[in-house]
């Protein structure tokens, strides 16, 4: 291989830099900023379990959207049998109140910019931070 020394050195530098997040947080114990969404004060039970919501809230919202808008179906029966009206504005935001305090916390952390808020509104009724 030509320039073996330079190439190996460059590759090594690249590997170090690309794995920086992993060994830096392992070494210093600082994982960086963790998202801290503000949870609803009164209601402790969401439509589905926390784990399911973490994994699949977008799938749920998409299903709700199609059911409400396209199929004129408005009632959702969650896994534990509770019935909810399918509505981002009126069900989800009833408890989660402010998107800037809840939704945006994790979305900003992940660099996600969902366009829900171009149309939908939280209780404050205006566009949030993003």
């Amino acid at each position: 291989m030509y320039d073996k020394g330079k190439i190996m050195a460059g590759l090594a530098a690249f590997l170090v830099m690309i794995t920086l997040p992993f060994w830096y947080s392992a070494a210093t114990g600082k994982a960086g900023v963790k998202p801290d969404p503000v949870l609803p004060k009164t209601e402790k039970k969401c439509v589905e379990s926390r784990q399911y919501m973490r994994d699949a809230h977008m799938d749920l919202l998409n299903r709700w959207r199609d059911a409400v808008v396209r199929e004129d179906r408005h009632i959702y029966v969650s896994q534990d049998g509770t019935r909810y009206e399918m509505s981002l504005n009126n069900t989800c935001m009833k408890c989660h109140e402010e998107r800037a305090q809840f939704c945006d916390k994790c979305h900003t952390y992940m660099g996600e910019n969902p366009f829900c808020w171009d149309c939908h509104l939280d209780k404050k009724g205006v566009k949030g931070v993003l």
Partner: protein, 261 residues
């Protein structure tokens, strides 16, 4: 280029294309959508509105229905007539009913303002032309909009013979001066919007906002909303007892807004 490198690039290209075309994996929804209706939900075989033109003309300056609708649905107030958005408004009789207008029409009628809105046609050309089914006809007759699906091609605007549809040429939020109602979404730039017969009120057992406020302001009979397939409904009886016309019937669109003249 040497053959093996070329072959590799071709294979790689096809592989990426293939991977990209693989259907995205979605998780199953945990619960289930119920087929039950909402408590008190209003249903019908075919929703229609009968407008009593004479009664409406008794209050020429009345804008109650227009304001109620536009406020309830966060419709922006855009002063530039080129970009305005309106779901319900008034047009002169001679423009609304050009075929029924003649030089010897009763004095003044040609210039008087008639209420116009989406006709929720039974044979809607806008639905026929939409390439994504972002607008479609529900079983109860309402021509509905799905602004999540709309690609903003404006073919439905070209197809509507009544000019009932509006496009968001820009972000509408700065123009919602009446105070945004958080219970109903606004729209984003680049999608089409129009009257949807207040589907969000029907599920709560309420009639459309325009009809409700008109009945309050002008009393019953000026705007009547109901199931035209139900012979006992107010709207069916009104049409049976009076003379009614529709806009541009020769186009075969079968509009469901009836004007009692």
């Amino acid at each position: 280029m040497d053959e093996s490198r070329r072959a590799f690039l071709k294979t790689a290209g096809c592989a990426i294309l293939g991977a990209g075309l693989a259907a995205p994996i979605t998780r199953a929804v945990a619960g289930a959508v119920s087929a039950d209706a909402m408590p008190g939900e209003l249903t019908a075989g075919r929703w229609a509105i009968a407008v009593n033109v004479r009664k409406c003309l008794e209050r020429e300056d009345c804008r109650a229905c227009i304001d109620a609708c536009h406020v309830a649905h966060n419709v922006p107030l855009i002063k530039d007539p080129l970009r305005e958005i309106k779901w319900i408004w008034k047009e002169p009789f001679k423009d609304t009913f050009a075929a029924e207008t003649h030089p010897y029409l009763e004095k003044g009628l040609a210039g008087k303002n008639v209420l116009v809105l989406c006709n929720h046609c039974d044979n809607p050309p806008c639905v026929r032309v939409c390439p994504t089914k972002a607008t479609w006809k529900r079983p109860d007759g309402i021509v509905m909009m799905d602004q999540h699906r709309c690609i903003g091609c404006r073919y439905c605007i070209a197809g509507c013979p009544y000019g009932s549809r509006s496009f968001n040429w820009q972000d509408p939020r700065p123009f919602i001066t009446t105070g945004i109602k958080p219970e109903y979404p606004t729209r984003m730039k680049g999608v089409v919007e129009k009257c949807t017969f207040c589907t969000e009120r029907l599920i709560k057992g309420l009639p459309p906002a325009c009809v409700e406020v008109c009945n309050k302001v002008a009393g019953p009979g000026t705007m009547t909303f109901g199931d035209i397939r139900d012979p006992n409904s107010e709207v069916a009886r009104m049409l049976k007892d009076g003379f009614s016309i529709r806009r541009k019937p020769e186009l075969g669109t079968e509009p469901q807004i009836f004007y009692l003249v």
